[in-house]
């Protein structure tokens, strides 16, 4: 046999066509969804004005939630299915401000302040649990989401509003007629669109008018700056190091477990803020359901934007939210136009949300297996 030759330089220079190919492969998911939208939009028959308005609203509504996923990915903890914990914390904050009738921006800020310690505490629990389940963070955080949901239901449905308990909710519009427990649907009249309309901006394009929720966009922009800045801090650098190799980071003296907990706490707190922003746009809160889908939709959106389990950027967030919600808006109508059943389009978008997560997870696991193989071949010198 020929003796293996040590690879002197693994640096590979891409040629022009390889560059294009590489671009197409690494962005295959968003490209497929762009193609799908290109087919579905004309079929659905929606006007451009309507779609643009819809996308602007939905970007404002969802981006903050999706952005909250970025930090755990940076720390190598995968997709934070535990973000629903933050969403629950946010909703608890909203219940209180609604009860106290604090309205407008102050209401939102107060809700955020109330939810922050709750989210931090839940994030701490989540991070600590995940430290006990290294290597299967995703499935664990996913189940943890369900578990905490049970506790959330217990607290909100059975303890809130009981007189004499320390969680006094008095507003009869919130409390169930039986005397305790929060109603299923809460009208968030007080803070509805408070942030969206904080800086009102509408523009008339002749045959359609577009209003832009500028206040929310400013908040999102601030968040993006925070993430960019955070990546450049020592803490961010440590998280990147841990994300690549926990053992190496640990032997360099980085407190691995503590840093992982911090990553989850930050993500959970931000998800709480994100849920508050989400709900102020919607205007009503489904006490026992609003948070349930938050995790899945945010994760699916991020993945559609071209992120993977181990890499995600701010661009992925915006591309993903746009494409995911484009599909969300047009697919029922397109399904109806195509087959005559709107239901079909609805199931299709459910399928896409689940399917995209399944595909992303499979690709990630598969790629990791192949990389291990390739590393082995590298040792052999082939």
């Amino acid at each position: 046999m020929t003796p293996p030759v040590k690879n002197d330089s693994a640096v590979h220079k891409f040629t022009g066509t390889e560059n294009v190919k590489h671009f197409l492969i690494s962005n295959s998911v968003p490209i497929i969804f762009i193609a799908l939208s290109a087919i579905a939009i004309p079929i659905s028959g929606f006007s451009a004005g309507y779609l643009i308005q819809e996308m602007l609203t939905r970007l404002a509504r969802n981006s903050f939630l999706v952005l909250s996923l970025l930090i755990p990915i940076m720390a190598g903890m995968g997709l934070n299915f535990g973000m629903v914990l933050g969403a629950m914390a946010g909703q608890i904050g909203l219940i209180f401000v609604t009860d106290w009738a604090v309205v407008g921006i102050p209401g939102m800020v107060l809700a955020a302040l109330i939810s922050m310690p709750i989210a931090a505490f839940l994030g701490f629990i989540c991070g600590s649990v995940l430290n006990k389940a290294k290597g299967r963070e995703m499935v664990t955080s996913y189940i943890l989401g369900f578990f905490i949901n049970g506790i959330y239901q217990f607290v909100v449905l059975y303890t809130m509003g009981i007189r004499g308990l320390h969680i006094p909710i008095t507003n009869p519009q919130l409390v169930l007629s039986r005397g305790f427990g929060i109603r299923n649907a809460i009208n968030l009249t007080g803070i509805r669109r408070a942030l969206d309309n904080a800086l009102p901006l509408t523009h008339n394009f002749g045959h359609f008018t577009i209003s832009i929720p500028l206040g929310t966009y400013v908040t999102i922009a601030a968040f993006c700056f925070f993430i960019v800045w955070f990546r450049r801090t020592k803490l961010g650098q440590d998280m990147r190091a841990i994300g690549q190799d926990m053992a190496v980071a640990g032997s360099a003296g980085i407190a691995v477990e503590r840093t992982r907990v911090i990553a989850i706490v930050i993500s959970t707190v931000l998800a709480a803020f994100g849920q508050i922003i989400f709900l102020q746009n919607i205007g009503t809160m489904n006490t026992y359901n609003s948070h349930e889908q938050t995790g899945m939709f945010s994760i699916a959106a991020l993945l559609i934007g071209g992120a993977t389990v181990s890499r995600a950027s701010i661009t992925n967030v915006f591309v993903g939210v746009t494409l995911f919600h484009m599909m969300f808006v047009v697919s029922p109508t397109a399904g109806k136009e195509l087959i005559g059943q709107a239901q079909l389009g609805e199931y299709f978008r459910v399928f896409v949300s689940y399917g995209i997560i399944a595909v992303a997870l499979v690709l990630h696991a598969w790629k990791r297996l192949q990389e291990r193989e390739r590393a082995r071949r590298g040792l052999r010198g082939e």
Binding site: A133, G135, R136, G150
Partner: protein
């Protein structure tokens, strides 16, 4: 003595002991809160029989090292396909029987089948048809599912969850589009697309449960369903006593060892996934014959979770499960589910069963996931 006791506790695990004591407490308190004990026990047993095979479907995959089968919906879908097909067959052949009885002539096989379906064996024949359709479907789906799982070793559970979810969503579309036309199944208006729930009354409702069942005042025992469950448990138990079953256990216990002993680990995993999926299909049919309804669309979505929780509650871990785990776990889990609504609700005058179900089942899964497993090198 105390050492032995401690060992027992640590083997059995605190969560299990707490839940078992809790369940005992619930049963013991029935007379004081005005709940009938016989009804409670009967309800618990019926639910054990209904869910037993679904829990059993966890065992092969756990044993072969594929982890907890969160992809159970895949097997359930195959079972549902069998179920709706059998009802479609029944309706079609009932119509055919009308034709025959009014003097029309049809093929020998068709006329034989349609007369069987009018006889006393109608239910069994239809249930047999459901199984006959479901099993090959499950085997095929299981095979494909295994091909995915063999490529993502180490991350099976999360992927299984979402493969299961996606397949449920695909089937949602399929239920709308598949050309079934039995009037008992399709939406009244529109005339196409299956309903969300379909009654099995008049087809194979209680076909197993009522076989030799004991009805005694408030107490009902579905003997036939338990015999069927026992047979399934025996089959799985026997399978793991064979050479192949032994190889599968070894492949799960230490894949490197198995490989060094000439075992094709991927093949063993594939067989285990197919077996789990087939059991899932059988399990849902058993469930539906007792329940009396077929639940389509998003119905199967979360069905894996109670089964996973039950087997873990029975003492299984992420990579080891026995028949005893299945039986004990199903009883404990279904016991809690049955008893909490009746007992707790009559004490607190509010329905907390849903919350308790969520906390117990997910708490159990969480406990299993965070327990230290053997470090593989």
């Amino acid at each position: 003595m105390s050492g032995k006791f401690e060992k027992f506790i640590s083997d059995f695990g605190w969560p299990r002991i707490i839940i078992a004591l809790f369940l005992l407490l619930l049963f013991a308190s029935t007379p004081f809160v005005g709940v009938k004990l016989d009804t409670s026990i009967s309800d618990t047993l019926v639910r054990v029989g209904m869910n037993g095979v679904l829990v059993l479907a966890m065992v092969p995959m756990v044993q072969s090292g594929c982890g907890l089968n969160f992809g159970l919906p895949l097997g359930i879908i195959a079972g549902l396909l069998g179920a709706v097909t059998s009802i479609q067959v029944a309706t079609s052949f009932d119509a055919l029987y009308q034709v025959i009885s009014s003097g029309g002539s049809v093929g020998v096989f068709a006329s034989a089948l349609s007369s069987v379906l009018q006889s006393g064996a109608r239910g069994l024949a239809l249930f047999g048809i459901a199984l006959a359709i479901a099993l090959p479907c499950a085997a095929i789906l299981g095979f494909l599912y295994a091909q995915i799982l063999n490529r993502v070793k180490g991350e099976e559970m999360m992927i299984a969850t979402y493969v299961g979810f996606s397949s449920v969503a695909v089937m949602c579309m399929a239920w709308l589009l598949l050309p079934f036309n039995s009037p008992v199944m399709v939406w009244g208006y529109g005339g196409s697309g299956l309903r969300t729930t379909i009654s099995t009354e008049g087809f194979w409702r209680h076909i197993l449960s009522d076989f030799g069942s004991i009805d005694f005042g408030n107490f009902y025992f579905p003997t036939g369903m338990f015999i069927f469950f026992a047979i399934m448990v025996c089959i799985v138990w026997a399978f793991f006593r064979t050479k192949t079953g032994t190889a599968m256990t070894a492949a799960g216990s230490n894949p490197e060892f198995a490989r060094a002993s000439g075992i094709d680990v991927n093949k063993m995993r594939t067989i285990s996934v197919m077996l789990s999926t087939v059991l899932g299909a059988v399990g849902i049919l058993v469930y539906e014959q007792s329940f009396g309804f077929i639940q389509l669309y998003m119905g199967p979505l979360y069905m894996a979770f109670p089964a996973v929780a039950a087997i873990l509650l029975g003492g299984a871990s992420v990579n080891k499960a026995t028949m005893a785990n299945v039986i004990v776990g199903t009883f404990l889990f279904q016991g809690i589910l049955t008893m909490t609504p009746s007992v707790i609700n009559s004490i607190l005058k509010s329905d907390m069963s849903e919350v308790i179900r969520i906390i117990v089942s997910n708490g159990m899964i969480l406990y299993a996931l965070t327990r230290k497993t053997r470090v593989k090198r």
